[in-house]
Amino acid sequence: MASESIVVFAQFQSAVDEGFWHRFSSLKLNKLGIDDSPIPITGFYAPCSHPQVSNHLTLLAESLPSESNEQSSTAATSGGNRNRCPVPGILYNTNTIESFHALDKKSLLKAEAKKIWDDIHTGKAVEDSAVLSRFLLISFADLKKWTFHYWFAFPALVLDPPATLVDLRRASQYFSLEEAKSVSAACNEWRNSSLTADVPFFLVCVDPNSLATVKHIKDWETCQSDGNKLLFGFYDPCHLPNNPGWPLRNFLALISVRWNLKSVRFLCYRENRGFADLGLSLVGEALITVPQGRAAKTGNGLGWRDHQCLPNAVGWEQNKGRQVSRCISLAKSMDPTRLAISAADLNLKLMRWRALPSLNLNALSSMKCLLLGAGTLGCQVARMLMAWGVRKITLVDNGRVAMSNPLRQSLYTLDDCLNGGEYKATAAVKSLGRIFPAVDAEGVVMAIPMPGHPVPSQEEDNVLEDCRRLHDLVDSHDAVFLLTDTRESRWLPTLLCANTNKITITAALGFDSFLVMRHGAGPFSSNDERQRLGCYFCSDVVAPIDSTANRTLDQQCTVTRPGLAPIASALAVELLVGILHHPQGIFADGELANSSNSGSCEQPLGVLPHQIRGSLSQFSQMTLVGQSSNSCTACSSTVVSEYQERGMEFIIQAINHPTYLEDLTGLTELMKSASSFQLDWDNDDDDDDCIEI
């Protein structure tokens, strides 16, 4: 009839919960490896429950067979879950994107269609009707980028010629009021019983008294009485008013083969808020006219009833109207590095939200820190900086990791000591990367030129090179930590920092005492005449000399109480954070702890001292303030301007002739005039007793 049209079925839609990909990745990494044999999986769907949105065939973590060693995430999906009707499927996962695209989709679809066809003919589909909605999934899981390419197919046996639609209307318009009430009640009962809630195909039998019963499709024979209306019902995921859902396709195939019906009245069962909704559900009548003429080909007069004659199949899922696979990226929730980064950020943000709203996380994460020395102080400072969110760290050290180091130098392990020992700078960078993959750490294997250690002429070029390199390093960083093990090695860095007005923090250890201080601003850093805070050398009356020669063994070796380095390193980093949050930064005045100075109450991080000196023997700590000295061998304007004028030539001269610095700064004069007064100098040189690490 011209007015008749074919039944147009709405395609099944897929939805993959990210839990499925998580579980699959784990399965692939732990168990499957490169094994790409097909994996049986289970899909879940439920009848449509919303007038504007279709339901999907969903894959969850539970869709995959469980790993023996993996904990099941939620309560097992035992039978009878009304919202999760299980449907069998198969997964073909390839190991490369090329093989993914090269899969023979036609034959894969045909193979699954054949399974459905077989189940129809053997009667399995009558017993376990969910197999009618068997599906296929092909995928390529890229476990380096955490992206998943995939494509679903919902095999449907093609009726040829297609079924024609005689009638399709809302179920509420088809049934009488009484019938509708009874049908709803019967369906709700079916849906509420754990035995049948997840059975997606059923029969609705309405007797002449408008009493409806819902039965298993295997009980078809019992519904054959005159006067009874018989409808073939199925859970319809589709919401559309003019189209039945995909499961009806194979249902019609089953009905045609098993019971040879030509006219099929069907019920597209849909719900709303957990109850049967006959306004949303559809009732229709389809005519199946698969000709027996097909038998002419096979010669046995059976046509569709011939098991051997597999019909064509369609069913690859369209992706927004196009025939392409889908791709999902789960890097954000699966890539461990990204997870580590967001966890670290969270920690700092919590600090800001709950305790310190003025915390400047951006300044911390963009600050570039240069650490001179990768020993006990250097390792601890690096770790503390990372904890504060500093990501850019450069470590300079020319030594190798020695067997005694891992105990006190927290970035190294025994492996770093083997075979002569890795370079500390390199080992430290690797270690930082293992702690926090997103750190931007660099190691520089280089010695720091020192006054008092004269340079032989053949080495001069190398030393000049090192000086220039150090100059460039200081230039390219925002804060410099002096964490070396001798006093004289701090001279050149101090000078370079004073020259470029960089934030400089020194930490030095004695046997049971420590000094942590921030250097004042450079001598040419501002126009006003205010006193600058001093640097590490400002209180010296002698130029830095070779402190390592002619010392006894125990004085040369790094012997300090182990607790000192972590304490001093921690204070050094906290001091830096304090400077960063102080409105005057490097120019901030030195404050004293426990003072009535009102300025300290305003700063949310508290007091910003100049120097902290602590003693473990007393478990005490005190803050001091020292002004810069005009005769300082490292940061005075005399010295810095000499450097600015004569550059490396000046450095070499200072390195080779330490008294040169004393002459230059007038210390020599000072000493002469002092001794001429015959005063008793209280030899305030506890610094000399410090054997720094």
């Binding site: 939805a15 919960d17 939620t74 093609v158 559309l240 109207g321």
Partner: protein, 221 residues
């Protein structure tokens, strides 16, 4: 619930279980037309949590088209033509749909319930925090930005081992204290403090994620 806990705004883990059962009963009775909360047991079968899943939200956001499909060379591959027959209707949802899952999980260290949630589109692709915020009604966005009690963080779900968003619990006991202190005597008399804990809690927390508690439930408070 001990008065000590009550005065601190916290509750014990057993009390949480009691509160949860009462809550489910309440909700599923009063709000029978709403999606129902269920109690899910953890894999150890000892602890559990409240779950409300697949809440559908028709988003006002536009279809992002190509943006939904990250990955290199996604459309560069020329696919073989796939058989499609006339009996197939391919329909595309006119509105972009977002699904939400909500879990209420007890936090041992803070001794309060915590709301965990996640959102995803109809492909199953998870939504980002900023996309979720676009879905929230105006009053939630305000609550999030103004209040120092409420902020969204992303952390590992205690049972599902995947990152979920959650409303950080560090401020919960503070404002629960206020809620309960408001009517101390009345609650002590009726002795239903525990049962109402979750309703009270969700009435505040729910606002932040745009979940309104039906008035009938609030009446009991």
């Amino acid at each position: 619930m001990s008065t000590k806990e009550e005065s601190r705004g916290t509750l014990s883990s057993t009390d949480f279980g009691v509160a949860a059962s009462a809550f489910i009963l309440n909700w599923n009775t009063i709000c029978s037309s709403f999606p129902q909360w269920t109690w899910v047991l953890s894999h150890h079968q000892v602890e559990g949590y409240l779950s409300l899943e697949n809440i559908l939200l028709s988003s006002t956001q536009e279809e992002h088209g190509e943006l939904s499909f990250p990955g290199p060379g996604k459309h560069s591959h020329q696919e073989d033509p796939i058989d499609v027959d006339d009996a197939t209707l391919v329909h595309i949802n006119p509105c972009k749909v977002h699904y939400y899952d909500l879990h209420i999980i007890y936090c041992n260290s803070y001794r309060v319930p915590v709301l965990y949630f996640r959102a995803y589109d109809n492909d199953g692709e998870p939504l980002e925090c900023d996309e979720i915020e676009k879905d929230l009604p105006a009053y939630s966005k305000k609550a999030l930005s103004d209040s120092k009690w409420t902020f969204i963080t992303q952390e590992e779900h205690p049972y599902l081992n995947r990152p979920w968003y959650k409303l950080h619990p560090c401020g919960t006991s503070e404002w629960m204290k206020l809620l309960f202190h408001a009517d101390d005597d009345a609650l002590a008399k009726t002795g239903v403090a525990i049962e109402l804990y979750l309703v009270a809690w969700l009435s505040v927390v729910g606002l932040v994620v745009g979940l309104r508690i039906p008035f009938e439930m609030m009446k009991q408070l």
